[in-house]
Amino acid sequence: MTATAPAPATAPTRGARPLAGTGTLLRFALRRDRVLIPVWVAVNALMVLSMPNTLKALYGTAAERADLMRQMATNTSLRAMVGPVFGDSPGALTAWRVGVYAGALAAVTSLLVVLRHTRDEEESGRQELVSSAMVGRRAPLTAALLAAVVADAVVALLITVGLAGQGVAAVAKGPPGARPAFLHISQPTRKAGTTMAASSWKKNTTAP
């Protein structure tokens, strides 16, 4: 049995470079999703941007809005079902009606994007081929998260700009609990990202 120890490394160790190849993988992910992301983003943005007009029909006059505020203040079961109204302005009403849905849709989009570029790749075996190239251990997950962030950033931008274009303030000036649309949308991504990063970190540093 050849028991000789392997010769010492002939070149100095440069470290593992865990994020090598992230840029390439990110561009690749966005290229693969060049239809998927725009579609989800468009649906989300359209949902939000069509709200001010709908609300104008429902709560057009000041009397109707006052009526709504009074109902909200008194009727707790109504508040439980549709959430508290932030304020009186079109922006506040839009955030009240569609804010949660937009956030949920952005969360689902983020989840979809991240899974497509992590779990799907691992299960199909493509990840093995990619990982045998100059790709760091953290790079695939990081690229997937960044792709989701890009998708969410685009949605947030479209909503902010679109609402501003309709003359509706997208940044709340009023009571706490209302947030700028941008932060509101990116929250699900940050939550999803942290959870996935934590579980993947454990997987990569302990066992196989």
């Binding site: 049995m1 028991a3 002939t10 070149a11 160790t13 593992a16 075996g125 081929l129 045998s132 100059m134």
Partner: protein
């Protein structure tokens, strides 16, 4: 000059399963090294460890002078890998995948890529979902052979290729060896191994059972001799190294350890030889002996009784 790959005493367990049980492997630079073994022997696990995809429980591994786990990215700069079954992205064309790997591996020789695409008769413009299994493998092979690397790790890369493409593959590997590249080839195709490999390592149940050049390994196998004699055969059963002696009238069939062939031939010619067929040891016989000792023991249980009288301790 450092060896391309050195592995010693590698251990790896997945829960209760011991995939690797003290495996050794030595691959010199510039050689084509065959990596053989039955299913479940630990070949793919070893390759994954060499690629830094898995971390061994214990033992040492070095690839091109570096540690494959902690220096993974640097090692990958000089390595190209082709897995056993290749899955590609559905909406990307073969050419795009080859270019992607060119970017991820840090360099692609354009002319070589185009030449290989032609030789393998691959249509690089078709989408991934339209490729057959063989075409997917061709994409991975072209991406690997066109890369500017020092070591190629091929894990059963031709399992979907037709015989013509198998020929092209073998010629490509020979060309890579001529350029001074090292190739680690894991294969079940013994013809391929016989044609290409300079040295061979046979693993079984997580350990290396045999390692050496094919010439060395052939000494350990037996030559089959079939002869028709003029007179009655005499004294063959007494010769050392003779197995499976079968005499029917004047026809003799036997297997002899290649090292003892001379004595057997002399005994045969003494009886007068009318016709003689000698089959050189096939790699298949060698591998079957190592792959399935349990299986061969059960099927030749009857022959063992006859063999035991002629078997000589070596």
């Amino acid at each position: 000059m450092t060896k391309a790959i050195t592995v010693s005493g590698l251990h790896k367990s997945f829960g209760a399963t011991h995939a690797l049980d003290g495996l050794d492997l030595d691959v010199e630079r510039g050689e084509v090294h065959g990596f053989l073994g039955p299913n479940g022997a630990g070949k793919s696990t070893t390759i994954r460890i060499l690629l830094g995809l898995l971390r061994a429980d214990s033992g040492a591994a070095q690839v091109l002078g570096r540690d494959p786990w902690s220096d993974a990215v640097e090692v990958h700069r000089r390595i190209a890998y082709v897995p056993g079954d290749v899955t590609l992205w559905r909406n990307l064309s073969g050419g795009e995948v080859i270019d992607l790997f060119g970017r991820l591996r840090g360099g692609l020789d354009r002319r070589r890529r185009d030449e290989l695409v032609e030789r393998f008769e691959l249509d690089p413009t078709k989408k991934g979902r339209t490729y057959s299994k063989g075409n997917r493998q061709k994409v991975a092979l072209v991406a690997a052979f066109a890369a500017d690397v020092d070591l190629l790790i091929l894990d059963e890369p031709t399992s979907g290729l037709d015989p013509l493409m198998e020929e092209v593959f073998q010629r490509c590997v020979a060309e890579e060896r001529d350029r001074g590249r090292t190739v680690l080839l894991s294969s079940h195709l013994l013809g391929e191994v016989e044609q290409l490999c300079d040295r061979v390592s046979i693993v079984r149940k997580g350990r290396t059972v045999e390692s050496g050049s094919l010439a060395d390994l052939r000494h350990l196998t037996r030559t089959s001799v079939t002869a028709e004699l003029a007179g009655p055969p005499d004294g063959l059963a007494r010769l050392p190294g003779v197995h499976g002696l079968d005499i029917q009238g004047h026809r003799v069939r036997l297997q002899v350890d290649t090292a003892r062939l001379d004595a057997v031939l002399r005994a045969l010619t003494e009886s007068g030889v009318r016709s003689l067929t000698s089959t050189p040891p096939t790699l298949e016989e060698l591998f079957l002996r190592h792959y399935g000792e349990a299986a061969t023991a059960s099927t030749s249980a009857a022959a063992a009784a006859a063999e035991s009288s002629t078997e000589v301790e070596r």
